[in-house]
Symmetry: D2
């Protein structure tokens, strides 16, 4: 590893931007060279801690000539334009999900990305969770035989504010999109989507015509059936479980506990403590691993970073689920080979 | 309990008939008075062990004047006629599920049953499993708040012979029907059914146009979403789990273990032994409890026996699932109040 | 099994006598022929339910000529005399533990028992618990290699009344005696005993110079070390666990749960329900299995019933533990081969 | 935290020294100023990565005037002299356990340490494990009531080389010493020690008169009984569990799993993956937390660092256990108040 560190330009300094800034600071293979945010105080705070140069202009960052790659953690509506600018500048991109809420905009951008040969990676961080990754590797190694059923249980700790719901694009595009990618991580050849949504508890969802509760069933070309169970709240805390089932057995990914201590008393036996807070805590390791893989991609090495195509496919599935839940029909989808990858330009 | 034992006439002496014969023998509130089976050797074997009178004619049993109630454990196609004969004779009935594979025959029988006032109970034994029953009671007691999601995982140990598949009525009417009843046990007001089936592994299912793998999503009038995951095989053994989720938490019913011993070694930690064999072993206690509740029904006492209406409703759901899986549409159902009950005629 | 049922004479109709009466009634290989208790109402109540003849005199029962075997469930101080009477009458005996609190009385009885050839079995019921038995069988099968460590955790739900403590013979002879037998079930060649006792919470124990908390360490001739952890109370309920450790791994016997339902909410995750009440509930299956093995012994068949020698050995260990805890020294014991067995007279 | 970082001088660059070097590099409150090791290549390697100055002389490091505190990770026989040099130079010390294998040398050093007022902390890293710490905090908070029983199961993955055994001071001083400190972490007022050792499997232990298997029972002044179960090997991997028991229930600290994935198949159900490798992996977080507490101590802030007295007490217990196991007697100990603490000089 005698290569110089990859100089990263970070765009966006909200909660997730700060997580990435910390990952970059901790990774010996990267340095945070520039930080951009129209909210300049956010950029300045990170600059002070890390020595990064600071700007309120993403363009200035991209044109600085002092970054080797761009990490986009700004609001969703800005993603498409920033990917375009970065790709045109020849700078590899790691972009937070989703690419956009509008599949038309994503598809309009696609030819440029494909023609450019510039690697564009999507921030599907859960692929890098050591537990999910171990389960998937064991499935791939044939431990349970061909995958027949996959159950993904994914519940957030608490419903987001109504304002957020209003612009979120709906539960399928905002929340389930992670689970769609996880489904494709295990089984890329999805051909059909069927979804059921409900307004079970959240006034915000009801006010904006969104669901707070949803179940989505996916079918693959090879006959596997995938079930995604979502809720916008969970008294137990962030609930992230997977069950992969095949002819030889099943692999289950349980929730991470905040400690290994259990209590047994007069009314409860082996009661465990609550789960870690939310995605920043639960997937802390995953964000670091995601960055490491992106650095490999930037350097032109073999990399498992999710690609622009993965981002597109997840959105196609979200759109199909939205339509299925609304119209009460199963929706066929064509994701192509699902094997485009985010492979380096070389 | 100074009442004389209820004299039971048992029709059918196959595997499940033998289970009922044993339950009756063990229950101080019942005696096995008559046993009928065209396969007279089966009836004779039970008669020898129990002292019951034996016949190859169900009619003779019903007309004997020596039975207080009839337990129907004969093949499905005989159920409707035998219920009719019993009800006309004024004899309360406990009939194995399903009433029939053809909803039209069930609905044709219904007016007679309703008009007669004779209690007809259905053999949905899982309601009487102490674990399922405890979870349902705790949900009913409000421990998790209003039910928002219910996940039922139900996998058989091994696919049935192709011959059986051919006459089974399909996975939804044959296997999922138990899960439909379990769904209604927790949430009776189901209004919509959406199902996805697959031929993932079983040549028998493929040969007869049936599914071996299925996921069914039900929605209730109050907005709860129920997911049923089925497979016709399971390397792990008979897999019967439930997860009930609400705003205050979740109740999970795990599988029964054959022992509490775990092994930890170089490659596996806390590995438990395989599950009990199949439904006869797994639900042994449930069959006894089912009989006890039926005896209460016969005596005109308050009883929680599933009713003829419960049998009808499960079949309606199975038909809807079959149609949904075939046509790719969500199917609306109207189960009425779902509260008919099997309550005694008085 | 065309043999006639074994006619049992039951002496003692307290809590444990009633358990045995029920086991005998449920076992097709046995009938309850006579019941004796100076408290004649207890005997009468059982006689009424079972048809057994009733007496207030154990001698009358033994001399009746109408029993094939005797089950002694009377108070401990009567055991030695009743075993002697039964053995002299040529009647096989199943006697509740302990044989006596005084090792001298036990050793005085021993020559008669050995010379008679009449089988005498001891009621160490835990050997027949399916979980303990499975773990022991797997150890014997070499699954963990040679046993190196055995940990037995054994805690009663609540301290007994002070009156009981006064005549109990002390925690080692009254409570740990079961664990000593369990230790010998896994590793018969114990050579050394070291015990530590404490008066941690129970005024009754303090008043009568007994311990309420104790840890006993046993060493075997082959170098295995066994640890027994006892408490006279347990908020969690009756706590009965075993961990057998060897070079290839470990086998752990967990507590039996009253159901498989777990609750997860805001403050506790996967909390299980409390354990079954106490030994009658926890070891219900074990009592039936114990009887079955005794019936085999009576019939002269191969049997695994614990023997008079097992009863003697457990008491030797209890005496050694009492001395060790009092004097602060490790106490050597000589249990001989430990392989006498309760084998039938033939 | 506007204070300048604490300049640490690290003595010893073996496996554990490298762990400390990494913790120091990662902690914003500390810098690694000097590294000393007679094996100069080890020091040089760390110096290259961190910019620390390098020497083969511990004295040069202590006298450099460029360190604020000393971290001693050199071989045990050097500890006493290096503590003395550091304390005389007024430099706070964090010293790996044990202080020395010879209690006489420890007690000879003690007056100097006490008189100096210079804080000396001992590297009992397990106190800083988040799981152990959480359990202890919950016990201290009264969740189970007064502690009555504590069970510590502590097994290493594999026996050390015979050469190591030869100079280790024996299992109690080398391995159990961590568990003695853990026992005192939960219950400082230990008054009696009783131990049983065995040569069950390891030829190295046998050759050098050491034990490979041991059980130690400690009694506290308040009547709690503590059991420590040790083995020098464990097929399951590094096995570190604690059970704290009191009148209101029990708290159990389970092993850390390397992932949350479980496998269920035909022969095993819910089998988990093996544990993390050994102490460096298992207690990685604990080493960082240990350093943080030491930095607080150096700065004169309130700190929970284990003290010189804690190091002395653990050795007293180890000596007592050795004597008990050899002579077969319970050994009384007087640890004084056990509350000396490592409190800062002020």
């Amino acid at each position: 590893m005698t290569q110089p560190p990859v100089r990263i330009g970070l765009i966006g300094t909200g909660r997730i931007g700060q997580v990435h800034a910390a990952s970059i600071a901790a990774d010996p293979g990267a340095t945070l060279a520039w930080v951009a945010d129209p909210f300049i105080a956010g950029a300045a705070a990170i600059g002070e801690r890390t020595g990064a140069r600071v700007t309120d202009s993403a363009e200035e960052l991209i044109d600085s000539g002092e970054v080797d790659a761009v990490l986009i953690a700004s609001p969703t509506p800005t993603h498409v334009d920033l990917i375009e600018l970065s790709v045109r500048a020849g700078l590899p991109v790691l972009c937070e999900k989703p690419i956009d809420l509008d599949i038309a905009r994503v598809e309009a951008l696609r030819p440029l990305v494909e023609a450019s040969g510039v690697p564009v990676a999507l921030g599907f961080n859960r692929r890098f969770d050591p537990n999910h990754a171990a389960a998937r590797a064991r499935v791939a190694a044939g431990e349970i035989g061909p995958l027949e059923q996959l159950i993904i249980i994914s519940r957030d700790p608490a419903a987001p504010p109504a304002d957020y719901v209003a612009v979120s694009g709906g539960i399928f595009r905002d929340m389930t999109i992670h689970d769609f990618d996880m489904a494709r991580f295990f089984a890329p050849d999805i051909v059909s989507v069927s979804a059921t949504g409900s307004q079970a508890f959240d006034p915000g969802a009801r006010a904006h015509g969104d669901f707070d509760t949803a179940v989505t069933t996916l079918r693959t070309g090879s006959g596997a059936v995938i079930t995604i169970v979502n809720s916008r709240h969970s008294a137990t805390g962030y609930d992230q479980r997977i069950e992969a089932f095949g002819p030889l057995g099943m692999l289950q990914v349980g929730n991470v506990q905040s400690s290994t201590v259990t209590f047994s008393g007069a009314s409860a036996v082996e009661a465990r403590p609550p789960y870690p807070e939310f995605f920043l805590e639960r997937y802390a390791e995953a964000y670091s691993a995601e960055l490491r893989e992106f650095l490999r991609l930037v350097r032109g090495e073999a990399s498992t970073s999710p690609s622009f195509e993965d981002g597109w496919a997840a959105l196609v599935l979200a759109d199909a689920a939205q339509r299925s839940a609304t119209e009460g029909v199963a929706v066929a989808v064509d994701l192509g080979s699902g094997e485009h990858g985010a492979a380096a330009g070389s």
